[in-house]
């Protein structure tokens, strides 16, 4: 019996992957031979380096060190119908985050702030969103991003900048997929939104807001943000694409709209529910 995936959901990535995220990944993989080339680079260079860096500079969280995290990973993989089994590391950072990467050798890196701050239920949701990232093949575009960074001096400036903006646009869209995975795992819109905004406001404030209620103050703020964005659409789009963070208002609005559109319920209905 599963401990964290309490409803024994089985959810395929195509049920909920954000269409723009899927379109970008599919477009890359449709180019003949590109998957093989990326796999080759990944296995022989990029991931080799990442493995060395991780093993030499981060604490490895083995099953013996923390069985709970490994159990959550296994259950999340089962829920999202994948067999991915990443290596797990801990990195000292005050950013509340879980990084995932790797095609041939997938790995997850937890920040200390994440593990210090979240409860087990939220951690389960965060791990699930990380597993969804593997299943959505986000590592393929991450690798292209790395290649562009290394080829920065070789490519003409306009080409490399255009590619960078396109990748940043994808990075925003892939977060929508991971936010959906977080919500599906938690089954609780309030909890999913609170995690998204964790560290951005005091806990007492986050606990007070009912994020699923369209009269909440953050909903108003997000609405205002989107209106301002639409006023100067091109400039705002460039601002978002060139900034380091994806505005929380965008992520919240996207998740909220998906949640109330009925798509969220549809995904849950499609997921096969095993008898306990």
């Amino acid at each position: 019996m599963n401990k964290y995936n309490v409803n024994n959901k089985r959810i395929k990535i195509e049920y909920f992957q954000h269409p723009s995220d899927k379109m970008a990944v599919d477009a890359v993989l449709k180019v003949p031979g590109v998957e093989k080339v990326l796999e080759f680079i990944s296995e022989n260079a990029a991931e080799k380096l990442l493995a060395i860096i991780n093993d030499a500079s981060s604490l490895k969280i083995t099953e013996e060190i923390n069985p709970k995290i490994h159990e959550m990973i296994r259950e999340a993989a089962e829920m999202f119908c994948t067999e991915v089994s990443p290596s797990v590391y801990l990195d000292r950072s005050y950013f509340i985050q879980l990084k995932t990467d790797g095609m041939a050798n997938p790995h997850m890196i937890f920040s200390t702030a994440l593990l210090e701050k979240v409860d087990d239920e939220t951690l389960w949701g965060v791990i699930s969103s990380g597993i969804a990232a593997f299943e959505a093949k986000h590592a393929t575009i991450k690798l292209i991003d790395k290649i562009i960074t290394y080829a920065n001096g070789v490519l003409p400036f306009t080409v490399s900048e255009a590619l960078r903006l396109a990748i940043n646009n994808w990075k925003r869209n892939r977060e929508y997929t991971c936010d959906r995975a977080l919500l599906l795992a938690l089954g609780d819109f309030e909890k999913a939104t609170k995690y998204m905004l964790l560290g951005e406001a005091p806990d007492s404030t986050l606990n007070r807001i009912r994020f699923s209620d369209p009269t909440n103050c953050f909903y108003d703020q997000s609405k205002e943000f989107l209106e301002r964005k639409n006023e100067n659409a091109v400039i705002q789009k460039i601002n978002i694409l060139t900034s380091t963070n994806h505005p929380y208002s965008s992520r919240y609005t996207e998740l909220y709209n998906w949640y109330i559109s009925g798509e969220y319920d549809e995904v849950l209905e499609r997921s096969v529910s095993d008898e306990l």
Partner: protein, 274 residues
Amino acid sequence: MSYDSLKGLVPEDYQHSGEVVAMKVLKAVPLMDKVMDYYLAWSLKLDTYPAIFGNYYKVTEESCPRLYNLYKVALKRLDMDKEYPLFVTLAFEYNACAFGGSEPFLVINSSFLKDCTDDELLFILGHEIGHIKSGHTTYFNIARNLNKILSGIHHVTAVLSIGIEYAMEEWFRNAEYTSDRAGVIASGGNMQACYSAVMKLLGQSERIADMDFSVEKVLKQAKDFEMDSVGVIGKVLYIGATMENCHPWSILRLKHIYDWYNSGEFDKLVGKFK
């Protein structure tokens, strides 16, 4: 093997083999250390000292007795006669540094004070005092400035300077191993404290529940990590990835401390001064 002070201790007693050549070469450049000391004294007085004295918290017996007393213990164990100004700055990152030429000072981040035990702090203070004792505070600056001058002369030397840059950073990393050994000496050979101090740099935190990071388990990761196992491509990638790192990766530091202590070198060193 307990001791209050290793009277007569010199850096060469515990110097890492990877920095012997670099130090010899730089020390052989006539008058260079004098020139650099003069330059550092002038430039530090101009901007660094006012900024440090104006923004950081100076550690004295009165202002921060816990840290001050540990500092005195570390200085004594490493046989340092002079007491250099020590400051605390407010920061999340675990970091500390020693800076300056013939008038060096030390800075330690507040996060260390908050999270480290006294024994771990002795290792950290000893590491920074070790940089001063070895003269790194002067010679690092000489190396950096020489390379800047070299890369500015001509494009050909600019290419050459990439090689020199790598060699220089490799020396800096090896110098960190030397200073880690100074940290071990300052801790009085309390290896659990030395290992756990380095583990904190890696992210080990008391505030994370259910995480059984015992020293033994992390040491296993350190012992399992072998550069030989990464192959030629791995080694090339390692050079690229560490090109600009002035500190070695923490697992490697743990491994070096472990290997040095278990080789018997530490006991031999302490025995020499008994």
